[in-house]
Symmetry: C2
Subunit: 387 residues, 2 copies
């Protein structure tokens, strides 16, 4: 791969009632361009994730809208949509455009405005990521879907609600040190268990919040970085993306995410590494159970062993494999169309040694982003190595 | 470019009340795979355009849904969305994935189911391609937007409703010979002028119909074609995509589509050709005025001269620059998320010498697809040249 990360930025995650989709994205994009020391008129490709704006804002065609408002009308602009993995698809497509020789500069990112809509409207819109014919119309929404996956996992591996809660405790603690995180308070096992039940076995603190936010990254070719004297230190080392059945009912095992396994295998192969080479991870903990499934799919833990990660400190900032040092979706927040690039922002900062929860001298990092209940998964690998 | 077109297919366009989004797309995809003599399990990337399904069917995450139903769960799947240019973005992204060396086989396509929704719901959903804050909330929908563009053009260049109608007459005539076209009847200037007014100066026959349809194309690397003995004869020669203001109000001239001009310039440069090298064209005639604007943006006619194309037979099947030999969006139909690849299917058939309105021995063809009122435009160039 010859694609370099020249600059990254996220807005604060949380509620932005006085902003709009285009304003919030532009805030992140301009910050990323400043971080890259790169002018807006050099952008040749703009890939933006956005998931529920069609429904909540009656606004599609978001790629063009964002290019327009940013002042990058010269760019090829496109919205990428893989449900909650939309922004990771944007990053992957931007890297491919550069690798293909079609562009030297790609702005990739995503944005979602969720808090202005009622919780019912947001839950309905998010359910568009599931199988409408077979799941939504039967009454399933995402907390229910992940609750089914959690029940299957807990039954199969003798895991308890306390074990799930340990994931929230770790990620909330990480969020406290992240100034951009939506939730900036610690919790403990008892508080998670006593938070209101959402869909048994998941309580409120097992679930990520509703979030407004935007993230952006500037990807450049090595040639562009060299020609413009950019001091890049992180490269896009490889990517994998795969699919699975849209509906849960068609999977042989609900306690396993096959798209993630395939995406990880592919990303590792392209980057020429294995799971043991990874120093820091941002992954898709939309619910506590999701982090446990993810660290197994990515090869960091054996099947059925994932709950050990948070319980035994292995996924802590100073653990064997630090996971979600940003606070993850649970604490940092989950503006769905932005999340994949938000993860990429965090990993870039880790590899550049400027993260608020800095891991000791990492050289390889990974993002893992899931669409729906796992019908899509994107794994992107970043590595130190500059222009 | 080393990307080859291995197979193409479209479903009949029109009304498919007994089908669903996933079924219709799979019909096109399986036909394209058969045309390519290629098994579904070889698909590594699946890019699908879909525009209004979030609103009309409460179904997003369509890339994964289509990969799933087709039996291609191994593929990286993604929905691309650039409003009505969504499928052309899919084709461009599929080609980039191959060029980047990330895949040898990409299935690109699109699908839209429109007829089951009421005309009001469809019109509202399509309006999501415009600027919701500045256009839709003021009452503008797409017939009104293109009517404004038509009025500006007619005033600037002394063009009449009769001149616009000539585009419909040509494209309806072409549709009669296309067995997949939605409208299979000729019209004449008088009938266009007497059809019900939609948004002055556009009458019903100046407007494309509401369409259900799907299209798919199998793109392969030259190495894959060689290794598998595929007798491909058409290559993806170059692509351009650009943006413009989302809202009409921010453009200096409503009678001009700048994104199309930039996309064409870029595509010509990448393919190493100019407008005089093009032998056959499928372009975005969502309204009659749109074809006139397009043939000027693409460099086939001087500014203000585009109405000569249909009036003087220059864009006829046997004319100087044959445009929309399929019947175009006006007669073939316009399932918005599928249109860009539907155009690619038609051009491929022309270059392979198997089109129902065959042009004499073409070697270079072009597709032009517009998102919204021109905030996105994709131009893809195909050329004879096999593996």
């Amino acid at each position: 791969m010859t694609v370099q990360i020249a600059g990254v930025a996220s807005t604060p995650f949380g509620k932005h009632p006085d902003s709009s989709t285009r304003e919030l994205f532009t805030d992140a994009a301009l910050d990323a361009l400043e971080d890259a020391s790169l002018p807006v008129h050099d952008i040749e490709e703009l890939y933006a994730g956005n998931f529920i704006g069609d429904v909540t804002d009656d606004q599609a065609h978001v790629g063009a809208m964002l290019a327009d408002y940013l002042g990058a009308r010269q760019a090829a602009s496109m919205r990428t949509e893989s449900a909650c993995a939309s922004a990771s698809s944007a990053a992957r497509s931007g890297a491919q455009a550069i690798e293909a020789g079609d562009a030297d500069v790609a702005l990739v990112g995503g944005v979602e405005m969720m808090s202005a809509s009622g919780i019912g409207e947001v839950t309905d819109a998010l359910a568009n990521a599931a199988d409408n014919e077979y799941e939504n119309e039967a009454g399933l929404t995402f907390p229910g879907i992940y609750a089914l996956m959690a029940q299957m996992y807990m039954n199969a591996f003798d895991v308890t609600q306390e074990d799930l809660a340990a994931v929230a405790v770790k990620n909330y603690e990480n969020g406290v040190s992240n100034p951009l995180a939506q939730r900036q308070e610690e919790t403990d096992i008892e508080s998670v268990l006593e938070s209101p039940p959402i869909a048994t076995p998941l309580n409120l603190q097992d679930c990520c919040p509703i979030t407004d936010g935007a993230s952006a990254a500037v990807l450049v070719s090595k040639a562009y970085a060299d020609d413009h004297g950019l001091e890049t230190t992180v490269e896009f080392a490889g990517s994998g993306q795969s699919s699975d059945s849209l509906a849960l009912q068609d999977r042989p095992d609900l306690a396993r995410t096959r798209a993630a396994e395939r995406a990880a295998e592919d990303a590792y192969e392209r980057a020429g590494i294995g799971p043991n080479d990874i120093d820091v991870v941002e992954l898709h903990d939309c619910f506590t159970i999701a982090e446990i499934l993810a660290i197994e799919s990515l090869g960091f833990f054996e099947r059925g062993e994932g709950s050990r990660g948070a319980l035994e400190g292995e996924t802590a900032v100073d653990g064997r494999i630090p996971v979600n040092t940003s606070g993850g979706l649970l604490a940092k927040g989950h503006p769905v169309g932005a999340t994949g690039v938000a993860q990429l922002v965090e990993i870039t900062k880790q590899l550049e040694g400027r993260h608020p929860n800095q891991v000791d001298d990492p050289t390889v990092g990974l993002t893992h982003t899931v669409g729906g209940s796992g019908a899509s998964c994107v794994v992107n690998v970043l590595r130190t190595g500059g222009a």
